[in-house]
């Protein structure tokens, strides 16, 4: 069966420090991969999606970037964190975008 792993679970980082969040999927190949952010409140906002290795699309301009160095690995990065980058980050995968989406357990990032 397919599983998705996301780490770390929580992270406290100072303003101006770099960021690297990792997400990996097991049990499938060539998944579509997504990064979402949930700020204080409810809504989930799509940040990046990828349909293949090295293929990244950004949904909103921001201080973050994403990379997909391997088929089942998706990384969210920042060179210098801002206070506004705080939030709950969720990675997700889908297969051909027609069988539903499965989310990782999330990373709660606090920038201080």
């Amino acid at each position: 069966s397919q599983t998705i792993h996301q780490w770390p679970a929580t992270l406290v980082q100072p303003v101006g420090s770099p960021l690297s969040l990792e997400c990996t999927v097991e049990g499938t190949s060539n998944p579509n991969l997504y990064w979402y952010r949930q700020a204080a409140g409810r809504g989930l906002q799509l940040l990046f999606y990828s349909v293949g290795i090295g293929q990244i699309s950004s949904e909103v301009p921001q201080n973050l970037s994403a990379s997909r160095p391997q088929d089942r690995q998706f990384i969210l990065s920042s060179k210098k964190l801002l206070l506004s980058d705080s939030g709950f980050y969720l990675c997700a995968w889908s297969q051909l975008a027609v069988y539903g989406y499965t989310f990782g357990s999330g990373t709660r990032l606090t920038v201080v």
Binding site: L46, A97, G100
Partner: protein
């Protein structure tokens, strides 16, 4: 992109009560899912339901794709049902999932 509207935004129930959550879409959706976000933030997939009706224990969901809405029914609610319920859909064959703002459900013992 599509717009997703959920109602009600907040719902308070006594244990044992039934409830219906609604999700409206601004345009046709190719995929539709209901999620429950638990207190630890994890999104639990409840239903993948682009059309029709599905049931899983005390939960059931119905999507009327032609009228662009979906309903989530919770029967005999329990305190563990508390949390935020999201519906989400994709408006293109690509599949970027767009979320509603959620319904915060609180079930009191």
């Amino acid at each position: 992109g599509i717009q997703v509207e959920q109602s009600p935004p907040d719902l308070i129930l006594q244990e044992g009560a039934n409830s219906t959550l609604r999700c409206n879409f601004s345009d046709s959706v190719n995929n539709l899912q209901w999620f429950h976000q638990n207190p630890w933030g994890q999104l639990i997939n409840l239903f993948y339901i682009p059309s029709g009706t599905k049931q899983n224990g005390r939960l059931s969901a119905t999507t009327v794709a032609t009228e662009r809405y979906s309903l989530l029914y919770i029967s005999s609610s329990q305190t563990t049902d508390s949390g935020v319920y999201f519906c989400a859909g994709t408006g293109t064959s690509y599949g970027k999932l767009t979320f509603g703002q959620g319904t915060i459900l609180t079930v009191h013992p």
